[in-house]
Symmetry: C3
Subunit: 141 residues, 3 copies
């Protein structure tokens, strides 16, 4: 174990994995409350919103991990980790908003989009710098 | 290519990717057996259980990869790889159980949860050690 | 930032993340065109094909990332990155084909399968070489 490992990115990733597991558990509880047994995935709007709120997290989770780690390793680890924390906050806002009313998922969703944009831009800057350095031997900054 | 690469984690990851692809193929075969053409995802309970068994693998796959790699790199690669093998065994039990009867997915599911808990705890221990070493210069063990 | 980072893999990963986000947005637009509000995921075949085309991308995305990165790091980065570009082309063919007609998803799907097979084989070769080197001190090639 070296002290060069990106420990902040790892910490944020573990917290995000726990958060999405916790959402899966809330879907399971909603199943029990409404007596909707697997493999059924339809039911009262209340259950369907909970189910879809978790599904949306799943759909975006790999995208989040890609931009988080590339931003953190190619650009700046602290900034990326802060972005990751904001993403998890946005995911919680999205989930709790969505299960109460479909429209209330939107504030969390806009925060999620801002964070993903920020991580994508910083990741792209890092990739361009690294590409110039590695293949063209040009050092920017 | 250096000999420092986490080859056991890579091997387990490739096997898990093949396993989940194999599950996708079994969903495709179930589609053909029941003559359920895409984009339809509903049908006889038998097909819906097969479809959902694969979906559950997809929902957990990124979580698994996160805790597998962080546990293996920050804590112990051999232990994490063994956990990864147990996870794949649990996934196979879950899938074959689920397609025969909904309740029979549970033994595999409990094994999956145990493995994820083990990987999360070892990953967290590794992160804490690495954090103390990197930022506070404290070496535990 | 060192110049040893796998910048080509990172670049392909960012492009693939943007591509899958763009597909999610096209699902959102299809929702608006057909006035299908979340959490509903059923509707005219046109919408359901768009929805499932994106879902299929999500189902395979983690598998793609696993074989892309392991192939690129354990075998050859340039070959893996080229494979990654072909995968994104296949995903676009799959998506645009699927939304016009279910059967038209197949050419893209076959390209996707070829790329995944190529990345899996090269990843496996790299893992075997790395394993022999690390644990048995045998150098092939």
């Amino acid at each position: 174990m070296t002290s060069d490992l990106p420990v902040l990115l790892a910490a944020v990733s573990i917290v995000s994995a726990l958060h999405i597991s916790f959402q899966a558990r809330r879907v399971g509880r909603s199943r029990m409350n409404h007596n909707i047994m697997p493999p059924i995935v339809t039911g009262p709007p209340d259950f369907e919103r909970t189910f879809r709120a978790h599904q949306n997290s799943v759909e975006f989770y790999s995208i989040f991990l890609v931009v988080l780690w590339i931003s953190g390793i190619f650009c700046n680890e602290v900034l990326a980790a802060l972005g990751g924390i904001m993403y998890i906050v946005g995911r919680e806002m999205y989930f709790t908003g969505y299960i109460s009313e479909s429209k209330k998922r939107l504030p969390g969703f806009y925060l999620i989009l801002c964070v993903l944009l920020f991580l994508t831009v910083t990741a792209t800057i890092g990739i361009i710098q690294s590409f110039l350095d590695k293949y063209l031997n040009i050092r920017v900054l």
